[in-house]
Amino acid sequence: MKRVYVNEKWCLGCHLCEFYCAFANTGEKDMAQALKDLKINPRIKIEEQNGISFAVSCRHCREPFCVKACISGALQANDGVITIDKDKCIGCCTCILSCPFGAVAVSEEGVVQKCELCVQTHEGTPRCVEGCPNNAIVFEERG
């Protein structure tokens, strides 16, 4: 299965992936319009310090602790993609307690959110990868 992988040395720390992610999840057509005055809360997030930067988003683990630990059944693996059913989620945050990458977070609606590889919003390559100007994140099969 194709996943998002990170090439840390090529990350510019430009945060464009975060903006593309936020845009993809607005469901709007025009990026500038969609993000105008919006305080973004993307599912991919840059960690940065002392000149080092890299993007972190869901790894779509084969043994997903978040799914196993989910007390409501809201997190499920569908053909390898870990998705969240926001209607079922009650925001207990057991997944945040479980994710070893820190890739699940609380959303504005009081439930949790995470990268779903744009399967709900955008066919093909996830928007964050499309928008990365330096191939610091790639969408590929690595076994």
Binding site: R62, C66, S72, I96, S98, A105, V106
Partner: protein, 408 residues
């Protein structure tokens, strides 16, 4: 191959998913004394809070049993295991044969024999959907509710009903609330928060006696109430196994979830687990452990190889928007931080042993990972990670494995 699973909650369902990873055809029979489609048990407080519905709180979709070719016997009680015949007996006398049997019988509420309990008319426990339905029906705007037990169950129940009744008072023998997962500083923060919402507490004392709708506390103080909830804790539901094998704090199992009886497995709240963060065997009545044990049991029952050796306490709980995440054991040196946003306490030696987070909980799972995988703190930037969990604190090589390697 005929698999029989007693229990229709997290561990039982996980076992089905475990079995079906390798055996697509074997017959699976699930038996539960509850009459309901599998539901997310910890969500019963959210049901009373009206943050979910019975439909939404189904643990798996309506077609789960059908898709996984399971025969389901709901509202059916198992009365005995007959290991010599490799069968179980139901309350109606029928027998069902098994090749592999899983006990996923969960836990049952512990009922403290308080003198006078029999005289109380409106008394409830809080463990099942039926408990929640009954309690929900009894609630009214003027009801005075007395909850015995300021632990996870008692306080989630209190949160669930607070806005629907006149008052809620929680009594607990421990000096602080949530005494199984919080230190005194943490307990104080959460208690203040709950008091601001209108909850009342009588701590450091038990109930000496009950007389109809009056409770007399150890201090002599008397409290009138309309509804009484017993929430002092749970005990493993081990009666079936007790008749055929030795039990400890729960049903003893090895890392493959095998009991001492051939072809009989156990998983979830009915077992006792080795807590890797303290090295002690204990009952860990937690959904994540139940799932992982159940899944492992299922894989092994179907002839696969799965080892579950990562059990430890971990709890994510929240009250009126305040998140409380804890994991591991509270042993060793401590690092703590308290500010206007919340509270953090880490417990560590060479490894991280445990943590308490109240309020900010971002990336808490990275701390859980350090405990679960016994990551030596010397291999990472501990000064950084103790302030802010993140992958930045790991070495570049380790990060490259985590973010560029094949997923775990």
């Amino acid at each position: 191959m005929q698999y029989v699973i007693i229990g229709n909650s997290a561990a039982g369902i996980a076992a089905v998913e475990g079995i079906r990873q390798t055996d697509k055809n074997g017959k699976i029979i699930i038996i539960s004394d509850e009459p309901h489609h599998t539901y997310a048990r910890p969500l019963i407080s959210y049901l009373l809070l009206q943050k979910t519905t019975e439909e939404k709180m189904k643990y798996r979709a309506d077609d789960f049993y059908e898709k996984n070719h399971c025969q389901v016997l709901l509202g059916t009680k198992v009365t005995a295991i007959q290991p010599e015949k490799k069968s179980i007996r139901l309350s109606d006398g029928k027998e069902i044969a098994y090749d592999k049997l899983l006990l996923a019988t969960g836990a049952i509420p512990f009922v403290l024999p308080v003198p006078g309990l029999d005289s109380v008319e409106n008394t409830f426990t809080f463990m099942s959907l039926d408990d929640a339905r009954k309690l929900g029906k009894a609630l009214h705007k003027k009801a005075r509710v007395l909850i015995l037990g300021g632990g996870l169950i008692g306080l989630k129940c209190a949160e669930g009903i607070l806005q629907r009744v006149g008052q809620v008072t929680v009594v607990d023998l421990a000096p602080g609330i949530l005494s199984s997962i919080l230190d005194s500083d943490g307990a104080k923060i959460v208690q203040d928060h709950l008091e601001k919402q209108g909850m009342r507490f009588k701590l450091g004392q038990g109930i000496k006696s009950l007389d109809k709708n009056v409770a007399t506390l150890d201090s002599g103080e008397q409290l009138e109430f309309d509804i009484f909830v017993m929430a002092v804790g749970v005990r493993p539901n081990i009666d079936l196994f007790k008749a055929i094998g030795p039990v400890g704090k729960g049903i003893p199992v090895n890392e493959r979830m095998e009991t001492s009886c051939p072809d009989i497995y156990a998983a979830g709240d009915c077992t006792e687990s080795l807590d890797i963060s303290s090295g002690q065997r204990k009952m860990l009545a937690l959904l994540p452990n139940a799932y992982m044990q159940g899944e492992g049991a299922g894989i092994n029952m179907a002839g696969g190889e799965a080892y579950f050796d990562k059990a430890m306490p971990m709890n994510a709980i929240g009250f009126f928007g305040l998140h409380v995440l804890t994991a591991g054991s509270y042993l060793g040196e401590t690092y703590s931080l308290k500010d206007e946003y919340g509270y953090k306490k880490l417990f560590y030696e060479e490894n991280l042993n445990g943590y308490i987070l109240i309020g900010p909980i971002e990336k808490a799972g990275i701390y859980t990972h350090l405990i679960r995988d016994k990551v030596p703190l010397a291999t990472l930037d501990f000064d950084l990670i103790r302030q802010k969990p993140g992958l930045m604190a790991f070495t570049k090589e380790e990060r490259s494995k985590k973010l560029g390697g094949v997923s775990r």
